[in-house]
């Protein structure tokens, strides 16, 4: 609890800076918003009138504070292009992106942990080299390329999974998973390679510790040593990396959602940028960045909770 309070100022400071940076970055994008909305060929008076109405004549700082104030109440504005409330647009599409991200991370973890354990306990052997080699190769394949390969094999050639489209989970769970699998796999492969590499190194390190030798001297079976004695100390850095990699997962999600035509937040962001819908872009970027900071903050807290050395010392 004390730790939470101590870190709170950092959190608030970072979130404030993030919001400011978001506003500035988007605000500095070229193109007069009023012109973009009304289109070219409209009278200058109409443009000025719209600018006044949108409050674009006020100083930047005032506009920022106004925007921030609304954002804190959950009002991220209304898109001048589509007319929807930004927050509504985000929340409507959020489940898709969250499901995609979670599936990707879970698939990656479920595959990475056993592979890393096998790799580490037979470190240096042929099996280890094969597994590490595959992981190394996977790291050289970007998300969109993996997506194309998967589409080619499973959608075009084998026809097992659809190449585009989305059906919400509540409508039909099975169809939902069918649609979500290829996109999630595309994202998962890179994460898999990263997690596996990290965990393997960590495990090899841990397995050389004295307390592992003592566990062996106690007569503990090898699998028990791996899971109970070695995995836990090694998992901390894995947890941290999962949190830090969220940025990569979100970036990948933007591309993957676009490729598979999934109605997620990432696709919304991409298209809003293309259309120069600045209000929408501002809102989405703030939302994503805030979520990222919060999630990493929580991961940081969990780390302290899980590692007894930190827990009792702090």
């Amino acid at each position: 609890m004390m730790m939470l309070l101590r870190k709170l100022p950092w959190l608030i400071g970072t979130l404030l800076a993030v919001s400011f940076f978001t506003f500035m970055l988007v605000g500095l994008l070229p193109g007069d918003p009023a012109v973009l909305i009304l289109g070219a060929g409209v009278s200058p008076e109409a443009i000025v009138a719209l600018r006044l109405e949108m409050g674009l004549d006020r100083p930047l700082l005032i506009r920022y504070l106004d925007w921030l104030g609304s954002a804190l109440t959950g009002d991220l504005g209304r898109s001048p292009m589509t007319g929807e409330l930004v927050m509504d647009a985000i929340l409507e599409r959020l489940p898709v992106t969250v499901q995609l991200g979670l599936m990707a991370i879970v698939i990656a973890l479920v595959m990475a942990i056993p592979l890393a354990m096998v790799s580490a306990s037979f470190a240096g052997s042929k099996l280890d080299r094969v597994i590490s080699g595959i992981g190394f190769a996977l790291m050289s394949v970007p998300g969109f390329m993996m997506a194309i390969f998967l589409i080619l094999i499973f959608a075009v050639t084998l026809g097992w999974f659809p190449a585009t489209g989305w059906i919400p989970f509540l409508v039909s769970p099975l169809d939902n998973l069918r649609n979500a699998l290829l996109p999630a796999l595309s994202l998962a492969m890179i994460e898999l390679a990263l997690y596996m590499r990290l965990l393997r190194t960590d495990l090899i390190d841990t397995l050389q510790q004295d307390y592992i030798t003592l566990a062996r001297a106690k007569g503990m079976p090898s699998w028990r040593i791996l899971t109970r004695h070695a995995l836990r100390p090694s998992s901390f850095s894995l947890l941290t990396v999962v949190g830090l990699q969220l940025g990569g997962v979100i970036s990948g999600a933007i591309i993957v959602e676009e490729i598979f035509a999934l109605p997620g937040v990432g696709r919304l962001l991409y298209q809003s940028i293309l259309q120069r819908d600045l209000v929408m872009v501002q809102g989405i970027v703030l939302f994503i960045a805030t979520a990222y900071v919060l999630v990493n903050f929580i991961v940081d807290l969990c780390y302290s909770l899980l590692d007894p050395r930190v827990r009792y010392a702090g």
């Binding site: 400071g13 970072t14 800076a17 993030v18 940076f21 978001t22 970055l25 988007v26 500095l28 994008l29 070229p30 190394f136 190769a137 790291m139 050289s140 394949v141 970007p142 998300g143 969109f144 390329m145 194309i148 390969f149 589409i151 080619l152 075009v156 969220l246 940025g247 990569g248 979100i250 970036s251 990948g252 933007i254 591309i255 676009e258 490729i259 962001l269 991409y270 940028i273 120069r276 872009v281 970027v285 994503i288 960045a289 990222y292 900071v293």
Partner: protein
């Protein structure tokens, strides 16, 4: 009992020469040299694309549309009839130039910031770390999309935008290495002898920090190529008619069912390039890690 021989003190140049000799003398294995060979081919294509006897990469010849490899031209034609092989070679230029430029920007700017932060500590360091925290709070694609919309889509603009992304990574690595170097005794000794700050930075800190930075460079370049191709895939990299590998893959997606080679060939090329960069970078890094302590 024989007297102990005084240890031979090598100059830094001799040390480096010996390291090079070990790199090229001792075998690195066939895979390593294969990767280096591939990278040299890519670099060659990037440099001499204009002078090679290739078909025009932007000239659409509808008659050749979607021809497979070895039917007419070496690797076939894409959806608009443009020669794939020629586009591949020209596209290498984009990847290599952006790769080198972005990594250089990241290394120089990020490295400098990191070294200064690590050496002088204090407010600057804290401010820098705070700014980096904020920048890193944004998913990289989001940041990049905004930057590209802001700076534009020329070769230079894209390089700068991606380079900007790499500044935090390099700043962190440089700072961490500087922190550890600064604590070592030879820096303290230099200080005690009255060496000026700039002298210490240049003579003691820089040479020791630069090796990890350079080692990271090759791997970083692979990542930059991936990032750039992602942008190109989304249509936000260097604009048409300049061919880019990412753009070619994006176009190829449309023809996956009918002419898979349009997407497959640039994909494989890019994969091999990034893989080679990762491989060579990784090997060099682990090789020089041991040597680092000799400096």
């Amino acid at each position: 009992m024989p007297a102990k021989k005084a240890p031979k003190i090598e100059s830094r140049a001799q040390n480096f020469a010996r390291a090079l000799q070990q790199v090229f003398g001792r075998g690195f294995g066939p895979g390593f040299w294969l990767a280096v060979f591939w990278l040299l081919i890519v670099a060659f294509c990037a440099m001499f694309a204009d002078w090679l006897p290739l078909r025009d990469p932007v000239d659409p010849v509808i008659a050749n549309r979607l021809n497979g490899p070895l039917s007419g031209s070496l690797l076939g034609a894409d959806g608009l009839g443009r020669d794939i092989f020629s586009r591949l070679v020209h596209g290498a230029r984009v990847s290599v130039v952006i790769g080198l430029t972005a990594v250089s920007i990241g290394m120089i700017v990020g490295g400098a910031l990191g070294i200064i932060a690590g050496y002088f500590r204090g407010h600057f360091e804290r401010a820098l770390m705070a700014v980096l925290d904020v920048i890193l709070a944004f998913p990289w694609l989001v940041l990049l999309l905004a930057l590209v919309a802001f700076i534009g889509q020329s070769l230079f603009a894209i390089s700068v935008a991606i380079g900007f992304l790499w500044i935090p990574a390099y700043a962190r690595v440089a700072r961490a290495n500087t922190l550890s170097v600064v604590q070592r005794e030879y820096v303290l000794a230099a200080k005690a002898m009255g060496a000026s700050t700039s002298r210490i930075l240049v003579r003691e800190v820089l040479p020791n920090v630069i090796f990890p930075l350079l080692a990271y460079g090759l791997v970083a370049m692979g990542l930059v190529i991936i990032v750039e191709s992602a942008l190109a895939f989304l249509g936000l990299s260097v604009e048409a008619p300049q061919p880019t590998w990412g753009g070619m893959i994006s176009e190829g997606k449309r023809h996956l069912a009918t002419a898979v080679h349009v997407a497959l060939i640039p994909s494989i090329t890019m994969f091999l390039t990034v893989l080679s960069l990762n491989f060579v970078g990784d090997r060099l890094r682990s090789h020089f890690d041991v040597k680092e302590s000799n400096l």
